[in-house]
């Protein structure tokens, strides 16, 4: 008998299509079915750290907003720990670190409230600057796009971040840095994602 590797191939990806909201955010599709939709409360009431809002738009190659995007976020708490057995340490009760948002059907704007994450360990050496891991699916996107959002006011940490420094084209690193504003006393980070074209956002094969 010939030797065999016997690995199973990963199931292939397919686009989430235009009606992703039915399954993953049915309220937005226009009907009420679940007692609890998942992904709206990312940090929970007990999380330490600075409360922030993150907002943006996802644009296609023509510069038009993509209005049927679903975006998921995965982040550490303010201590840099993920809510996972291998996440580095404890997180606050109720801190999930995961969120799911959809764009406004008319404007394409999305946004969520969370806390600013702390730095976490890099793979081999060093420390990763605070960042949000983002995953984007939509009609026309065959396999979910992974990217990261970093913070404009963490320039010192960003300069040492091992992932940002993997991007050979320094000019492209700027596409991953959210702009900070203050609105009604609350910190808001603006993060526009360009799927294609000029200033195309960096996407990762993770």
């Amino acid at each position: 008998m010939p030797q065999k590797l016997d690995y199973l191939p990963e199931t292939a990806s397919q686009t989430a299509g235009p009606y992703v909201h039915i399954g993953l955010a049915p309220g937005a599709a226009g009907f009420d079915i679940y007692k609890q939709e998942l992904g709206w409360d990312i940090a929970g009431p007990n999380a330490g750290g600075e409360r922030i809002r993150v907002e943006g738009i996802v644009m296609d190659g023509m510069g038009s907003p993509i209005k049927d995007v679903m975006l998921e976020v995965w982040q550490a708490n303010a201590d840099g720990n993920y809510a996972h057995p291998e996440g580095g340490g404890d997180v606050e009760d109720g801190f999930r670190g995961w969120g799911r948002v959809i764009t406004d059907f008319e404007t394409g704007e999305w946004g969520f409230d969370t806390i600013k994450p702390g730095p976490c360990p890099g793979r081999n050496v060093g420390t990763q600057a605070p960042h949000l891991n983002l995953w984007i699916v939509a009609r026309g996107i065959n396999i979910g796009l992974n990217t990261r959002m970093y913070f404009e006011d963490e320039s010192e940490a960003n300069a040492k971040d091992p992932v940002l420094n993997l991007i050979e084209w320094e000019r492209r690193r700027a596409t991953l840095i959210a702009k900070k504003t203050v609105r009604d006393g609350k910190t808001v980070y603006r993060f526009d994602i360009k799927v294609q074209g000029e200033d195309e956002t960096v996407f990762f094969d993770v």
Binding site: F31, W74, N142
Partner: protein, 242 residues
């Protein structure tokens, strides 16, 4: 203490590329630059966890989860079941599986769907469940109908159920579509044909499973899902820095 290993590199030759011209929407929604490849850090090997308090047991029964009392959804009653495994063929327990679909006539309950086939008043079209300790999941639903879509003038999607799966790590996150054995629309669909590997397409086709049926009640289809596997930590471990 052993430090966690990386997940296997995703085989991009079996997944659809971003740009697939026959699926027209992909043309303006596909990045032009190459993806930047990352070795896994703690940001990628961790992911959200869900528990039974997040969902309701009825969430997995689409025939009844939106039906009025005493009524049920119209259509071919099916059980969709299978296992969630990793590339090492190990089951992935307690992971969230979410599905959504059109009704038996190919109409979605979505304010943006204007197809003339009617809404079924007793069918919502979404469900979710957690895999058990063996990675096993099941749903009961109705078989969705084919429906037309504006790509070429006469494109029809094969019957399909959209599926979203988490695994244990954010880098395993996957959304895909489950098709049904024998559907003649499968080889004609530009979305199916975004996948370059014929075996990878075949893996998206649920098999009729007569052993899984409930006689005189509900027919069954079997659909196993494979998420990325993970290497053992032989010889190398520098994930947390040294």
């Amino acid at each position: 203490m052993l430090k966690p290993g990386e997940f296997y590199q995703r085989d991009r030759e079996l997944h659809p590329p971003a740009l697939t011209r026959d699926y027209k929407t992909s043309v303006s929604r596909s990045p032009q630059y190459s993806l930047i490849s990352l070795q896994n850090s703690v940001s990628e090997i961790t992911g959200p966890t869900f528990g039974h308090n997040d969902i309701d047991p009825l969430d997995k029964d689409l025939i009844f989860n939106y039906a009025k009392p005493g009524e049920s959804a119209i259509g071919e009653r099916i059980i969709l079941h299978g296992r969630v495994l990793d590339e090492n063929a190990r089951p992935i327990p307690n992971t969230l599986v979410e599905i959504w679909q059109a009704n038996a006539g190919g109409r979605y309950r979505h304010k943006k769907d204007t197809y003339l086939a009617p809404i079924d008043p007793n069918f919502g079209g979404c469900g979710r469940t957690l895999t058990d300790e063996n990675g096993y999941y099941y749903f009961r639903t109705v078989k969705p109908g084919a429906y037309p879509w504006r790509n070429w003038v006469n494109n029809w999607r094969p019957a399909h159920i959209h599926m979203s799966i988490f695994g244990t790590a954010f880098c395993q996150r996957l959304i895909t579509q489950c098709y049904f054995e024998g559907d003649p629309l499968i080889p004609k669909c530009p979305i199916v044909n975004t996948i370059p590997d014929p075996d990878a397409i075949e893996q998206l086709v649920a098999k009729l499973d007569l052993n899984g049926t409930i006689p005189l009640d509900t027919i069954a289809y079997k659909f196993d899902i494979v998420l990325r596997g993970r290497r053992s930590t032989l010889f190398e471990n520098r994930l947390e820095g040294n």
